[in-house]
Amino acid sequence: MHPIDDTHDTDRTGLLGIVQLLVLLQGAILVTGTIEALVFMGFAGPGGALTLGVTAAAAVATLAAAAGLARRSRAARRLTLVCETGILAVAVLEAILSTVLAGVPLVPVAALTRVAVPLAVILLLRRPDSRAAFDRPAMPSATTRGGLVSTEAAS
């Protein structure tokens, strides 16, 4: 294997590698949302303090989940499923309300970050092979190799 070739590093490049990437992006977006809420509160007063706190907590939880997924932590898998399901549920609710009440669909970036990404994460984490990867003892490091993540990649 080439020094920078991770093609056969199935833990990193398997389906769970995609999940880690997407959850990291979700965490980054929530960090951004926390900063935006903080700035907005500076202009508009403390009315959004609760949503700011919840967004900050969600950002921390999502980033912790991204790190936990790399260790194949079952708690991280559950936390990720809860967070992503919540994001997806709110997005679907918003999409229905805005389409029915105002005739306005979700903006494309919202459809990407709040529907496509959470849906992909949930579907990938619920696959039997992904679930099996979390049934083994937790891994010590984010980059430990050798676990079976994708039968496709390992074949």
């Binding site: 990193r12 398997g14 009315g47 903006v107």
Partner: protein, 398 residues
């Protein structure tokens, strides 16, 4: 005091720059016309890829086989690179002058070459990192230079950040490199959003108002594009009557306690644009009734609250207000504002990355609303009221 007749032409000029559409919003939540081709091409990409995979033309068979032998994360990298190349291809034919067109074509070609390298097992990470970083920085620079950020641009930048995150992930047991890669990804996302906010407000001519410098309203505002023609005498009279009747009607609310007794939710008056709404008037079936304005507007003055005017609001989302004064009575709406549910409050504006703060929902569009400024000497009776004028007025108001 402005020495002109505010009922003739002042507001019409602002409306004229909005163009021919009924309403105009900030491009942050829209797709710019020059980016439409890129969006369409990306939507066609899966069909093209499926056709190639099914037909397996001889010249592409090696790449199809190579793709099918890749692990999932690298397949995702292929797709991200293909999307990025497709967007740049679309931009080359739908956007910009010759120099920009060459740059877009070069970026598209480079992306396709990297896909080729990836599918045949050659090194691809460094080139991907260079291309994605270059594209991100170029976008930040172009937005800082006046290019309006829109949905195609923002979605593409997220694709590029994702591709960059794939190649930044370390191989081996380096935990500090993993942390550095994750931190870099977060920083790239934060900076992209910050640049988008800055660009969106810049093309609107500043963060404070609804009005627009380059023809766009500020983010979260949607302006009515009134007719270009100057208002007729009848329309000017109707506008003048509305303002006069409103001024007489709300004079009693100079003392906010009187307004509170009539049902207005005064709260703590801070800043120069405090709107006190009256829930009982929001859905009372009365439109533009000077006796029952939906909101009263105050500013915080050195000696207490200062009455500035009133705001009339339509009831349903997206519902247009009557243009009784033609181009003089400039209505606006708000789009993509975030409303928290507990407690009910304005929690923000929809992020360029598509989300509201957790616990709030995106209100895609409000009913139209119109400000009626009754403060003596207000430079214009409707629309947006200049902050500098407000400050001067509030400082000297009785």
């Amino acid at each position: 005091v402005i020495a002109h007749d505010p009922f003739h032409g002042e507001v019409a000029g602002a409306a004229a720059s909005l163009g021919g559409a009924t309403t105009v919003g900030n491009p942050l939540y829209d797709v710019l016309p020059g980016h439409l081709l890129a969006a369409v091409l990306v939507l066609l990409l899966p069909a093209v890829a499926w056709t190639i995979a099914a037909a397996r033309p001889r010249r592409l068979a090696a790449y199809v086989d190579g793709y099918q032998g890749l692990p999932p994360l690298h397949r995702l990298a292929v797709w991200l690179l293909l999307i990025d190349a497709t967007v740049h291809l679309g931009l080359a034919f739908g956007h910009g002058g010759p120099g920009l067109r060459i740059a877009f074509l070069a970026a598209a070609a480079w992306g396709l070459l990297i896909v080729r390298r990836l599918t045949v097992g050659r090194r691809w990470r460094l080139q991907t990192a260079l291309l994605m970083t270059g594209s991100l920085v170029a976008y930040w620079a172009s937005v800082a230079g006046g290019e309006p950020p829109d949905q195609v641009g923002l979605a593409t930048k997220l694709v590029e950040v994702a591709a960059l995150a794939i190649v930044l992930r370390p191989v081996g047991r380096s935990s500090w490199r993993a942390t550095a890669a994750s931190t870099t990804t977060i920083v790239l996302v934060v900076v992209t959003s910050a640049v988008a906010w800055g660009g969106a407000f810049a093309v609107a001519g500043g963060a404070s108002g609804h009005d627009h410098g380059d023809g766009y309203p500020a983010p979260a505002s949607r302006m009515s594009a009134a007719a270009h023609a100057e208002a007729t005498d009848a329309q000017a009279d109707a506008a003048r009557d509305l303002q006069a009747a409103t001024a007489i009607s709300i004079e009693r609310y100079r003392d906010p306690r009187v307004a509170a007794a009539d049902g207005y939710e005064i709260g703590e008056i801070v800043g120069l644009d405090h709107h006190a709404g009256n829930p009982a008037y929001q859905r009372d079936g009365r439109i533009l009734d000077p006796e029952r304005p939906e909101s009263i507007i105050y500013a915080a003055g050195p000696d207490g609250p200062v009455l500035l005017g009133a705001m009339f609001t339509m009831e349903g989302p997206g519902e247009p207000g009557p243009r009784i004064g033609g181009s003089i009575t400039t209505w606006h709406a708000h789009e993509h504002v975030c409303l928290s549910l507990v407690p009910p409050a304005l929690a923000g504006i929809l992020s360029p990355l598509g989300g509201c703060p957790i616990g709030s929902i995106d209100l895609p569009i409000t009913g139209e609303m119109i400000h009626v400024w009754t403060a003596p000497g207000a430079p214009q009776p409707f629309g947006d009221l200049d902050d500098a004028w407000r400050e001067r007025y509030v400082a000297t108001a009785p």
